[in-house]
């Protein structure tokens, strides 16, 4: 039996959805001018920028959204299934800072830092997908979104969870992915990336977010709606009320998306949180924020949609016990909830800072969570009595054939990051993680693309970078760039 955690009972789910459907009708949803026509053509009244979406239309959109879809590794293998109770993890995204491994202080992230994060994540099987994890502060801002994707595609063959910072940025990112896949059609057939699209709470689809939804729907590339209600600030203070708002934002986004591209893949995702009433911050490591992620995801699952959440992060600024406690707890709870894609690993300080060392430690928490959801299974006709027949009261189970046969299935073996008996090393988890990250990076080999496509990507990137006044490609092997 696979263990499962649900926070909402059926009557409460129905109440939440009932109120969400009412909210998108009244007060309605603020939408950008470029989707007014799309909505009006479907019979939605739009007055002064506010759309009133009838429940019937919303239910049609929910019905036309796919129940599942896949993200593909570079070689064309389906490695991430968005659907059912499948659970995958990826690092957190778009951090401005990186925790310096030597000084243990945050500093602005460079392209080389992102490259290192990607290389380490590539070596960790706990991460089914990569993320455009940091902003590269050494490249011009206006190419910041696609440049992160370039670095990830250069060093990774895994699927990518990403997102654009602007309309032109999205187009460039889709072009870049198409260069890697061979064509836009090949990319649509086997999507390599999912794009986060964020409504602004409460109930506002900005010009940029609306454009992203429609562009992705037209391109047939998966869109991941990341609704971010802050309970008590930009959303009702009650957790149930914030879940209602999250549902209304997701439903209204799916309406726009499905009207633009019926059947295009879309994810019921989010980064909901409470609003800390002392500090005015968004404590994503809090138990209530985790509960919101679980409850919001449960609504998406009830509707039969692929799901996403933002967990495995901490509000602490150090890779310490608080980070381990908050991240480990939410990694396990997210897995029990069956959230399809769980973003956030590696992040500190309420998503303000990334850390390679935390990413490595979080991978251990994720491995434990994955073991947890495998549950406890009977293996063979006898659970224990057959083994007792062999060993009696001597208790020498270590000698039994069953022990040797089954222990690998029963027990998860963490890496050396986790201290568990053995000789005392005198090191702490951070030091062990730093050591392990160095070992992973030493064993990393860049997954090369076929020569022509690699050249095509670099040529594309160099051209766009030069337009932005950037002669070099920071973070990318200089020798490879010079060959082009």
């Amino acid at each position: 039996m696979r263990p499962k955690l649900e926070l909402l009972d059926r009557p409460l789910i129905e109440r939440i959805l009932d109120e969400a459907f009412r909210l998108i009708m009244r007060p309605g949803v603020r939408v950008a001018p470029q989707v007014h026509g799309l909505l009006a053509d479907a019979g939605v009244g739009v007055e002064e920028g506010v759309a009133r979406i009838p429940e019937g239309l919303a239910r049609q959109a929910l019905a036309s959204a796919p129940r599942e879809f896949f993200l593909y590794a570079r070689e064309g293998r389906a490695v991430v299934r968005y659907g059912g109770d499948d659970v995958h993890y990826d690092p957190g995204s778009s951090c401005l800072n990186i925790l310096d491994s030597e000084t243990t202080q945050p500093r602005p992230a460079q392209a080389s830092d992102l490259a290192r994060l990607v290389q380490v994540a590539e070596m960790l099987p706990q991460f089914a997908a990569q993320a455009t994890a940091t902003v590269c502060n050494d490249v011009p801002e206006d190419i910041g979104d696609w440049y992160r994707l370039l670095v990830v595609l250069w060093y990774s063959a895994k699927p990518v969870v990403t997102g654009a910072f602007s309309g032109p940025g999205l187009k460039t990112m889709l072009d870049l992915l198409a260069e890697e896949s061979g064509s836009r059609e090949a990319l649509r057939y086997k999507p390599r990336a999912v794009f986060d699209v964020c409504p602004s709470p409460p109930l506002n689809w900005s010009e940029f977010a609306s454009a992203n939804l429609t562009e992705l729907a037209h391109a047939g590339i998966p869109a991941e709606i990341v609704s971010m209600p802050m309970a008590g600030a930009t959303a009702p203070v009650t957790l149930a009320g914030a879940v209602v708002q999250h549902a209304a934002e997701c439903i209204s986004g799916i309406v726009i998306h499905q009207l633009a591209g019926p059947g295009a893949p879309v994810v019921w995702g989010g980064a909901p949180s409470i609003f800390d009433m002392r500090t005015g911050t968004t404590p994503l490591g809090s138990i209530e924020s985790t509960m919101l992620n679980l409850a919001c995801s449960q609504i998406g699952k009830f509707l039969g949609l692929p799901t996403h959440g933002y967990l495995v992060n901490t509000d602490g600024r150090s890779v310490d016990a608080q980070a381990g406690m908050e991240s480990g707890l939410s990694a396990a709870l997210g897995a029990l909830a069956g959230i399809n894609m769980i973003s956030g690993a590696g992040m500190l300080d309420s998503v303000a800072c990334h850390s390679v060392e935390k990413l490595v430690i979080d991978a251990e928490a994720i491995a434990s969570a994955e073991r947890l959801v495998q549950g406890i299974e009977p293996r063979g006709e006898s659970l224990a009595t057959a083994m007792f027949v062999k060993t009696g009261l001597r208790g020498d189970f270590l000698k039994l054939q069953e022990t040797r046969l089954l222990f690998r299935s029963e027990q998860h073996f963490p890496s050396a990051v986790i201290e568990r008996g053995g000789p005392a090393t005198g090191s702490n988890a951070f030091a062990r993680a730093r050591q392990h990250a160095a070992e992973l990076q030493a064993g990393y080999a860049r997954p090369r693309l076929a020569g022509a496509r690699e050249e095509a990507i670099l040529t594309f990137a160099r051209g766009r970078a030069r337009q932005a006044g950037l002669d070099a490609l920071p973070g990318i092997d200089r020798a490879a760039v010079e060959r082009v």
């Binding site: 900005s206 009433m277 002392r278 005015g280």
Partner: protein
């Protein structure tokens, strides 16, 4: 004339309670019985705000309590300000602040919270709203000659606009005439230092404290009158 102590105490308490209707009613009652508006403010309501701030610092009150107190303060001031003007007086202004969320960012809550609390503490706040272009900040600084410019950003992708605004103010020769404070979830003290801001408020309450300390410490360079 002697001031009715119980009424001043009630004024203070109305702020602590976050009760705008009571605060306004007490203001009207105070004026009726002859309490000068300036005394009501400085001996009744302002001590109430200070008490709330102190309780917040001691972690016994929370942001919703602060917001309610600020709302009560606003309600009292609505009654008292016309009386002050009739007397040819004004509430002493703690400073002039220009606030806004930077371009590309439409997050409002933190910025509004700061504005509300600054207003309650006697600052004159001009709130430009959200998604404010750099040029608008520059134009408004030229127009208003504020003591402080507050730049809010919630996203890592938009916080760089805080630097852009500071650079634009410098280019226009306005930077040395004012102080720039930055805030928002991704901002840090280090970030503030890096981009040449004068301070960083980790939350709305510390932003008020910071603004007050800047006003206390700063010899203000007047704008040339041209």
């Amino acid at each position: 004339m002697g001031i009715e102590r119980p009424t001043l105490a009630a004024m203070r308490q109305s702020i602590v309670d976050g009760a705008p209707e009571a605060a306004a009613a007490l203001a009207r009652e105070g004026l009726r019985i002859g309490i000068a508006a300036i005394d009501a403010i400085q001996q009744g309501y302002v001590p109430g705000m200070h008490a709330v701030g102190e309780e917040f610092a001691q972690r016994r009150l929370f942001l919703p309590d602060m917001m309610a107190a600020a709302e009560a303060m606003r309600a009292a001031m609505e009654v008292l300000e016309p009386a002050l003007l009739r007397m040819g007086a004004e509430r002493p202004v703690a400073g002039v602040v220009l606030l806004g969320t930077v371009q590309g960012d439409i997050h409002e809550i933190g910025k509004t919270l700061v504005g509300t609390l600054l207003t309650a503490h006697g600052f004159r706040v001009h709130d430009l709203g959200v998604d404010v272009p750099v040029e608008r900040f520059v134009a408004k600084v030229s127009e208003l000659n504020p003591d402080i410019v507050g730049l809010s950003a919630l996203l890592t992708t938009t916080m760089k606009q805080q630097r852009t605004v500071i650079e634009a103010l410098a280019r226009e020769g306005l930077r040395t005439k004012l102080r720039v404070l930055v805030g928002g979830a991704p901002a840090t003290r280090r970030w503030a230092e890096e981009i040449g801001a004068d301070g960083w408020g980790k939350d709305a309450v510390s932003a008020v404290t910071l603004a007050q300390s800047l006003m206390d410490s700063r010899p203000r360079v007047p704008f040339p009158k041209t």
